[in-house]
Each structure stands twice: as C-alpha cells, then as structure tokens.
Amino acid sequence: SKGFSHKWLNTTDNIVYGFEVVSMRKIASCVQNMQKRVASGMTFEDAWNMSSIQLVAAAEAHCRVIILSTFNSEIKELTKTTSPELKRVLSQLVDLYSVYWALEKLSDLLQYTTINHEDVDGLRSWYEDLLTQLRPNAVGLVDAFDLKDEMLNSTLGSYDGRAYERLMEAALKSPLNSEPVNHTFHKYLKPFMRGKL
C-alpha cells in the first residue's frame, strides 16, 4: 500500500520508513548495476568490484534501518510502563537521533524519497527545538549511565565537577614534575645557551 513515492511527513516513524526506502533502493540499484555490467560482458567478480562503493553504502543504509527501527520500537515498548516524565525524555531522544541521521543522510533521502526543501527546513527546525528541549536533561541523561568516577577515570567528567582541581592534580603526577631541575638543563640547554654546543 505504501510505495517509495508516498508523501513525506516529518515524524520519526516516517524517517524510519524513509531509511527503509533508501536501503531498499540502494540495494536494488546495486543489483541492477551489477546485472547491467554482467550483461555487457563483465565477469561477476569485476562487476562486484565496480559496484563495491555502492554496496558498502547499501549495507550502511541497511544498518541505519536496523538501529533506527530497533531504537524506535524498543523505546516505545520499554516506556509503556515508565513514568510519563521518563517516557517524554526518551521519546525526545529517539526523535533527536532519527532527525540527526535524517539530516546527516539528507542526500540519500532527497535522492530516494519524496522529501522536499520545505520538509528539510522543517526537519532542521525540529532538530533545533529538540536540542533545546533536551538541554535541561543533558546531565541527567549521562548521570543515568551510572558511571562512577573510578570508572570514568577522567579529570573533566567527575561527578562533583571539580574539573580544574583535578586537572592540576593530574599535572602534578607528570614525572617531569618530580624534580625542580631536569638533568637536560645542565647537559644540553645550559651549554647551548652559553654557545658551547
């Protein structure tokens, strides 16, 4: 009932469908090109090699379908029993991820689906709105990974946010700071500065 020529809608479900169409059309195009090449006398192996850039792109498009559709459907399923607040933020995340990839792969969508420049403008506005909506929850979303400081092992990312203090503590662990004057001063720099090297 739906064809690749159906009207484009700026919804996550439709973006997933759009990626399915892109993947399907890319695979179809690869097969068609290979068949043409073989029909014109090329060996299958040479035809495969000549189509390999497109084949890699088709496989990537297929994988995008898998990730986008799985993320979309699993979050819908998982949030059936969660609080409305969590459901809302996870739904925003799915939307953001979908729109992000739609904008990243815009040339594919423009080539294979009915998306037009007004839809693209709409996608960009939607993306910017989603960033703003998710902004207040950014720290909460990463806190939820539940990574202790010992696991992050980072001067910048600790739970307490004391990034500058930790950067300085880490700098002091540099072996070069273990002595006030490094031996290279006497061996190389000083003679060099005095014109003796």
Binding site: K2, E20, V21, S23, M24, I27, A28, C30, V31, L55, V56, A58, A59, H62, C63, R64, V65, I66, I67, S69, F71, E74, I75, L86, R88, V89, L93, Y97, Y100, E128, L131, T132, R135, P136, N137, A138, V139, G140, V142, D143, A144, F145, D146, L147, K148, M151, L152, N153, S154, T155, L156, G157, S158, Y159, G161, R162, A163, R166, A170, K173
Partner: protein, 468 residues
Amino acid sequence: INEDLNREREKCSFNVKELTILMDGGPEKTKERKERENFMISKRDTYAGIPEDYLSYKEQYEKAVKKSVIVFGLVRRLQEEGKTTIHNYRDVLGNLLRASDVSTGFPLALHYIMFMPAIINQGTDEQTARWLPRAWDCNIIGSYAQTELGHGTFIRGLETTATYDPITKEFVLNSPTLTSYKWWGGGLGQTANYSIVVAQLYTKGECLGVHSFIVQVRDEETHMPLPGIKIGDIGSKLALNGINNGFLGFNNYRVPRNQMLMKHAQVLEDGTYVKSRNPKLNYGAMVFVRVVIAFDMANYLSKAATISVRYSAVRRQCQSKAGEQESQVLDYLTQQHKLLPAVAACYALKITANKLWDTFNTVNEELLAGNLQRLPEIHALACCLKAISTYDTATFIETCRLACGGHGYMHSSNLPTTYSSAVAACTYEGDNTVLLLQTARFLAKTWQEIDNETGKLTPTVEYLKTTK
C-alpha cells in the same frame, strides 16, 4: 559539588534512577551490576601507581597482566560463589570491564571472548568437557590465531597448513611462508599458553579448507615456547599496547587428532573427512565477538558522553549577553549539536546491541534444533552492526573530545584513550569495509530472490519486501 552541576541536577525533569534501572533491565540487574562494579573498584589500590601514559611499552604490558589477573580473578571468585556461569559470563565480564581502568587493554580478553566461545561453538561434547573447565578456571590461557601476516579478513586465503598423518594420528602444522605467520592474536605474544589456530586442513592429499585446532604453544610449567613453535609480540601500536598481540609460526609442529575442533566437520582416525552440514556454522564465534564489540562501543561512548556533558556544564566561556557572567558552554546550540546526538547514540547502540544479543541467542537455539535458516541473516547483521557501531562510536567520541577543547586533548581527561580504543575496534575482528561488503552480499542475494520468496523474509530484511 560544582554549583553549575548541582543546578543541572535540580532541574532534571525525570528520575535518573528510573532510567538507569530501565536500561539495566530491572532493579535486580542494577543491583548485580553495582555489586560487580564496586567489587572491581575496591581492588583499585592493589594496582595503583604511576599513570599508564607515563610507562614504557614493556611496563604497560606488565601492569596490564597484573590488572588482568585481578579482574579475571574476580570473575573466578564470582564463579565459585555461583554468581556467574558459562552462560551469562558476557554480562559479568561486561560489568567488570566497564568498571576497570585498564586503558591499555587486557591481554586475557581474547581468552574469554574468542578462545572459550570457539570451544563452545566448535568443539564436540567430549572436547568441550575436556577443555572448557580448564579454560573457565584459567588453568590454561588461550588466544585466537586466525589472521596471518599476509592475510586478513579473507579466511579462505590463509596459508597455515594442518596435514593429517594417519600413522601417528596427528596433525602436522606448518607455516610454509613468511606471510603465513599468524599475526595479531590478543595475548598471543607472551601471555597465552594455548591458542585456537585456524589452518588449511589436508588429509589424504586433499585440501579441505580452513578448520580450527586447539594448539598448545607454551609449556604449562615453564611457559617456554614449545619446540616447533616460533612466537612473540608484534610491537607497539596506535593504542591498546597492553593487549600483547602476537605472532606465531609452526615448523612441523604436531597436535593430536582430537585437537581439531570437530563439532561440525571431522577427520576420522584413518584420515577420512566428514563434511559439516553447513560450513557457515563456524560463524557462531564471530557473531558472538561482534555482539560483544557492539556492547563495548556503547560503554566507550557512554564514558565519553558523560565526561564531555558534565565538563560542558562546568565550563564557562564568553558572554552570550553583555553584562552577564560567562555562559555555560552547554547553553550554546553548537555544543548541544556536538553532544546530544552522542548521548542519544549511547542509548540507541545499547538497545540495538541488546536486541542483537537476544536475536543471537534465538538463532543459536534454532541452530541446535537443526534450523539453519537465519544463520546468514544473523551473520550479516552482526557484520554491519559491528562496522557501524565502531565507526559511529569513534566519530562521536572524537566530537565529544573536540567539545572539550584543549582539555579534551589531555590524557587525564581519558578522552584520547577512549577514542583510540574505539578506533582500534574499527580494525579488529574484521575491517569495517570488508564486513559491510559481507552484509551487502547477503542483501543482494536476498534482493535477487525476493520475488521468488513465497513466505515472509527473515525479520531484519522483511522491510525490503514491504517497501518494494
């Protein structure tokens, strides 16, 4: 706690714990994970010292061995307490590795993620009973030697030979050329004393393609390389220098007949070859390791996203409006554009890896029941997911690093190490381009047969028919 971070946490609109529990798969799973992580963290003092970035190559390896023994000692302890089994150790291992701080990688990792799964997937019941308990208890340490100096993802091109001698009932292993030397096996250099070796099988004068063998490479007591074995470390790499990737060559090295893994194909005592009902059944171990990689990527990216988002809340730079204090960099839309898709990708990858893991288990059960229908599909799926998850993760981590400016360039931020670990994954266990071409082969084949398919296509490609 930094005041900006405090404010961020106060204005969060949802319950953070609820999300953590949801992603873990329930409160019980969260509790188990936390126990394992705390257990791991509590051991930190036993190997604290100079940061690894300041150690030499040799010292990095030695420290990685010390840490590995502690980490995998914990796995053994959990096993003794009945808290982990051979069936759920991926979860346990995942939790422990997430909590570990071995930035140079584990020389024992391949023992768990390749050596043991290969025995489980390719060994007969008798072989599994003989080798798995020893491997599980770490009485022996295994590696996985498939790639050769001159041969990568194209397995059929491997040159190492295993020629069956019916008189002694042994296989004679040889590395006929320099390019046939095994190359890259994790832990193979100085750590492992056994390895799965993939070699061209010859029996009754006929080459029957690549098969896997359990090969002892070092003496169990002295750890000296055995006669006929040439083994060592391949040298310094871009990152992960504690993994001890090794080379391995054979000179008329003999292994008993029952050390060819014979769950699928067999060589009988007289040298008769019994074919596998499907040569692709050996893909199981590869699918397993690629699922593990997808989970690893979700972990690496979660770390990079956490570091860069928290830092972007703390870091203030420039005034948005005159007279105001400097703005939090997280308030700039360009910064949100760098970070929030990366955060979303963490959740997307974790959820997709979970789904792939469930699919892998379902297909494995079908295989045991003799149904091979979904084997090509799961292989194609694991190939592309490994490729895209590693590529996306590396790209998003690099963006997170750039979002932290110069401080993100410091090793102490842990972003460079996290990035180089993800980049390594783009290369190991199959080059991404080659893997995508394997997926493409499956897709092209499916497409060509789509009109002849009377029933439904397998689930992950069903959309091809509906969109067509």
